[in-house]
């Protein structure tokens, strides 16, 4: 795992709650709001289950700490999106909270329903981008959520031990996190 320069993180005392909201303007319509909301809920929950940080959806986009939106092309942050595939999304290190997804992608929450060969799993990308929001940079571990690339129709939404160690070194462990599971994974990975 890697951090951004200066190891930035959300700095208020732990445990803490971060609010997130979806842009009322910059959204897609190929998925329902419920599907998008649920995909992000699952993504946020994965990180919240390993660190003493929880995430709550806020109604007021303007005051939310994490702002999520889908954008086309040049959207004013100096990193224009490039259309279908190529770059899928980007986000910003703490404590900016901006999480941007390329609206040109064929976003999917169920590959059984979305048949396109270019479909991209929303939950996997959301989980990855939340890792950036929390302060993790890209990992060299191919199985890690924080590995930078994702093939169309692939799903990589479960945190790898590399992701967990990285984020816990920034925020500490969630008291409810089963450290035995981490040890088990370590052991099985080593034996593997």
């Amino acid at each position: 795992f890697m951090y951004f320069p200066g190891k930035p993180r959300w700095s208020r005392p732990m445990p803490r709650t971060l609010t997130y909201a979806f842009s009322p303007v910059n959204m897609i319509h190929s998925l329902s709001m419920l599907e998008i909301r649920e995909a992000f809920q699952r993504a946020f929950f994965k990180w919240a289950s390993v660190i003493p940080v929880s995430f709550v959806e806020a109604e007021d986009y303007g005051f939310a700490e994490i702002k999520i939106g889908f954008y086309i092309g040049d959207h004013g942050d100096g990193e224009p999106f490039d259309g279908v595939l190529g770059v899928l999304a980007h986000s910003f290190s703490p404590e900016s909270g901006r999480l941007h997804l390329d609206a040109a992608e064929t976003w999917a929450v169920d590959f059984g329903v979305t048949k396109s060969e270019m479909a991209v799993d929303l939950e996997s990308v959301a989980t990855h981008e939340i890792g950036h929001i929390l302060g993790l940079s890209h990992s060299s571990v191919k199985e890690a959520v924080m590995y930078p690339s994702l093939r169309p129709r692939d799903k990589r939404a479960n945190l790898n031990i590399d992701d967990i160690k990285g984020v816990q070194s920034l925020y500490g462990s969630n008291p409810k996190f089963r450290s035995g599971w981490l040890l088990e994974s370590d052991l099985s990975a080593n034996q593997g």
């Binding site: 930035p8 490039d82 259309g83 190529g86 980007h90 986000s91 950036h132 060299s140 571990v141 690339s149």
Partner: protein, 115 residues
């Protein structure tokens, strides 16, 4: 000599678009080689932080800076380190990805703090 589709190399810096049958043609390229399409890889590696800016001009010459960038990319992405445009490396570059730079020396605006 394989004829490459010039249109394939007019993509944004974030996209490597090469037909599969053309990937092989890059394998033997090394320092000093000039080959249509190298500039596209230079743009890509610069965009994601592996080589410094070429003053916004990217030639099709396989130079030493490009080789260093390739090696960094292969190390960072857990690929076999060859310093060449081998098929695994080119294929990896063609996979969709996150737009955040892989290194800490580029796209500094992505690493800001809100005050």
């Amino acid at each position: 000599r394989t004829i490459l589709d010039h249109q394939a190399f007019t993509q944004p810096a974030t996209k490597i678009a090469i037909k599969n049958h053309n990937i092989q043609s890059f394998i033997n390229a090394g320092i000093g080689t000039k080959m249509l399409g190298i500039a596209q890889f230079k743009r890509y590696l610069t965009r994601f932080g592996y080589i410094p800016m070429y003053n916004n001009t990217f030639t099709d010459e396989f130079d030493d800076k490009f080789e260093v960038g390739l090696i960094r990319y292969q190390q960072r992405l857990g690929l076999q380190v060859t310093g060449k445009l081998d098929s695994n490396t080119v294929s990896q570059m063609m996979i969709p990805r996150c737009g955040v730079s892989d290194t800490t020396t580029h796209n500094n605006h992505h690493h800001i703090t809100k005050h």
